[in-house]
């Protein structure tokens, strides 16, 4: 047997190696992003800068939310259009569990918020995972709408008016005086820490056997079943994990604004998260973070330009998706690909394009 005989080494192989994003580049990107975010509050110290600190906190919260959806869409192949439900349930749980007479225990409130999101994700996931494809999308949306209307049309937590959290919680750390997050900079550090934990937790999860199995299910569920995986349980596990991380974002949101209303459970919120994932790049944690930053910051900028900023936003997304079908995260790869292509008379173009998907999936594992 000569396994090599029928496959002579093709010239395209070298091109494939060129296109793949090297691990050091990804690591460098994460470190640079963390450095910028860690330096920001040290630079933005003036009173007039508070706005930016609060805006960045909001962006990071949305990044955590987008990361949670990325786990489902980009790694498990579950296109959920009702992800705001878990965000909202955690935010409402925070508001309803927070004591009215003084600051609550931040850790316990977090536990309650994440627990509520996990419980809802478990119940909804157990049902929606029996459907596939476009039905899955519709049923996840339907459940999220149910959550929306429960908060909107019942007297729970103020109905359509929403409800307030009067005191921001405190965090006990090692017996010292509890840490407060009343100052925007303090809260900023809390959110940055949460974002780092979320990214690290998802990265660890994805490199585990569980994570590899999820990627296998995304690519070929039938084959995974034939190999002996109870794919439903894996998908449910991913669905709950995604709900918990979305819950973390909802919890932080409730603390930041001290106010929750049914709009955070609306389908716009779910749709925005999906746009962030698509804009940044499906199947990449960095893509979710990039997508959230560009989406929220652009929306902020566009809204200062015109009242019809959503038109601008829509146009931008269409252009971005047309030019960068693999999302903003693929910009370095596209640039690296362009440079040698000019020199090589565009010969490697087809091979390089074919390898795009490969490179992304490799990163996924």
């Amino acid at each position: 047997m000569q396994p090599n005989s029928s496959a002579p080494p093709s010239p395209s192989l070298q091109d494939l190696q060129d296109v793949r994003r090297p691990p050091w580049l990804a690591a460098l990107g994460w470190i640079a992003a963390l450095a910028v975010l860690a330096i920001a509050p040290l630079v933005l110290t003036a009173d007039s800068h508070k706005f930016y600190i609060e805006l960045l906190s909001k962006v990071m919260i949305m990044a955590i939310f987008a990361l949670s959806l990325q786990l489902l869409i980009g790694y498990t192949g579950l296109v959920s259009l009702g992800h705001a439900a878990y965000f909202a349930v955690a935010a409402y749980a925070t508001a309803m569990l927070a004591p009215e007479g003084g600051p609550g225990n931040g850790w316990l409130l977090m536990l309650g918020a994440l627990g509520a999101a996990a419980a809802l994700a478990l119940v909804v996931g157990a049902l929606v995972l029996r459907t596939r494809g476009v039905y899955f999308i519709m049923v996840t949306l339907a459940f999220a709408q149910m959550v929306y209307f429960v908060f909107h049309d019942t007297k729970i937590a103020g109905g359509s008016d929403g409800t307030y959290i009067y005191f921001r919680p405190e965090f006990n750390v090692l017996r010292e005086r509890p840490l407060t997050v009343n100052d925007p900079v303090q809260f900023y550090w809390l959110v940055l820490a949460a974002l780092v934990v979320a990214v690290a937790a998802l990265a660890v999860l994805l490199r585990s056997r569980f994570g590899h199995a999820l990627v296998g299910i995304r690519h070929n569920e039938q084959r995974m079943r034939a190999a002996g995986y109870a794919t439903y349980r894996y998908q449910l596990g991913a669905f709950v994990a995604g709900g918990v991380v979305a819950g973390l974002a909802g919890y932080l949101y409730a603390i930041q604004f001290g106010f929750v209303n049914p709009e955070i459970a609306s389908w716009h919120q779910s749709g925005n998260a999906m746009l962030m994932v698509i804009l940044g790049g499906v199947g990449s944690l960095a893509g979710a973070v990039l997508g959230a930053f560009s989406f929220v910051l652009l929306a902020e900028w566009f809204s200062t330009l015109t009242r019809h900023w959503q038109l601008l936003m829509g146009g931008f997304i269409i252009v971005a998706v047309a030019l960068l079908p693999r999302g903003l995260v693929s910009v370095p790869a596209v640039l690296r690909q362009r440079a040698p292509r000019r020199r090589r008379n565009g010969n490697a173009q087809a091979a390089a394009q074919a390898s795009d998907a490969d490179a992304r999936s490799r990163e996924a594992v």
């Binding site: 494939l16 056997r209 995974m224 594992v365």
Partner: protein, 257 residues
């Protein structure tokens, strides 16, 4: 050949599958024995794929019983059957194209040591799955291709990978759905060598259109027509069977899909 060691591994009794008014498979009895290649042949629409889908648990039977190593496994889910020793390959390539050959096999092998709750452990650190994957690639003749992406493989190698992924789960019964589909002569010869090598230690069901190949490797042949078994026996008996000649072998065989 190996007639004296008939250890039955997978046995079907009266296996039947109806789709609405259509009976795709009708009361099929089948027994796969260890160290034997049992081929199932039949024209298109004879019910071979439905049969293999029922044997692997992908499709529940409408009636009939399935026994795996003496245990009644009728109605078991596919993943449970797989973990109890049934491995199957697919007629269409059903591999993880964007992943490397090694990861394709490792992922299949990981089903033997799932431990999904050990989230802190990297999958690549799972020794069991890596060892099983290496062994499967070696047996299937893909060791030299381990680092390549499955999408870069030649067609014949993809078929080999299909079998390697099956082997990586350490099955005792191998259900192979047209492993030679679309292969050239040289690739077919290599796959047949591989199948002969797998005979020891496995009970193999081979669904195949290539008659020459079937008669070259099979220890036993079952012929299906319209969902029913019309003959079953060793290759010589099947070749001599008048009913088979009339129903199947006499017909002009179309190009295998």
């Amino acid at each position: 050949m190996t007639m004296m060691t008939h250890i039955p591994i997978l046995q079907a009794e009266g296996l039947t599958r109806r789709f609405g008014g259509l009976t795709a498979v009708n009361g099929v009895d089948l027994s796969l024995a260890l160290h034997q290649i049992h081929a199932v042949i039949g024209t298109n629409g004879a019910g071979k794929s439905t049969l293999i889908n029922m044997l692997s648990g992908e499709l529940p039977p409408s009636a009939g019983r399935l026994q795996l190593q003496g245990q009644d496994v009728t109605g078991w889910t596919q993943h449970k059957l797989a973990r109890h020793g049934i491995g199957r390959s697919y007629q269409r390539n059903n591999i993880f194209l964007p992943l490397t050959v090694r990861e394709n096999c490792r992922l299949a092998a990981q089903s033997r040591a799932q431990r999904a709750w050990r989230l802190w452990e990297p999958a690549q650190a799972c020794r069991t799955s890596r060892a099983l994957a290496d062994e499967a690639m070696e047996r299937a003749g893909l060791a030299a291709q381990a680092a390549r992406l499955a999408s870069e493989l030649a067609h014949g190698q993809k078929r080999q990978l299909e079998v390697a992924m099956c082997l990586a789960t350490q099955p005792v019964a191998l259900l192979l759905d047209e492993p030679l589909a679309g292969m050239g002569a040289e690739e077919s010869a290599r796959m047949l060598d591989l199948l002969r090598g797998l005979r020891d230690g496995h009970a193999i069901l081979l669904v195949e259109h290539d008659m020459e190949a079937v008669f070259a490797v099979a220890d036993r042949i079952t012929v299906m027509v319209n969902g029913t078994v019309i003959a079953s026996g060793d290759p010589a008996a099947i070749r001599a069977n008048a009913e088979v000649q009339l129903a199947y072998l006499g017909e002009e065989e179309g190009a295998h899909a």
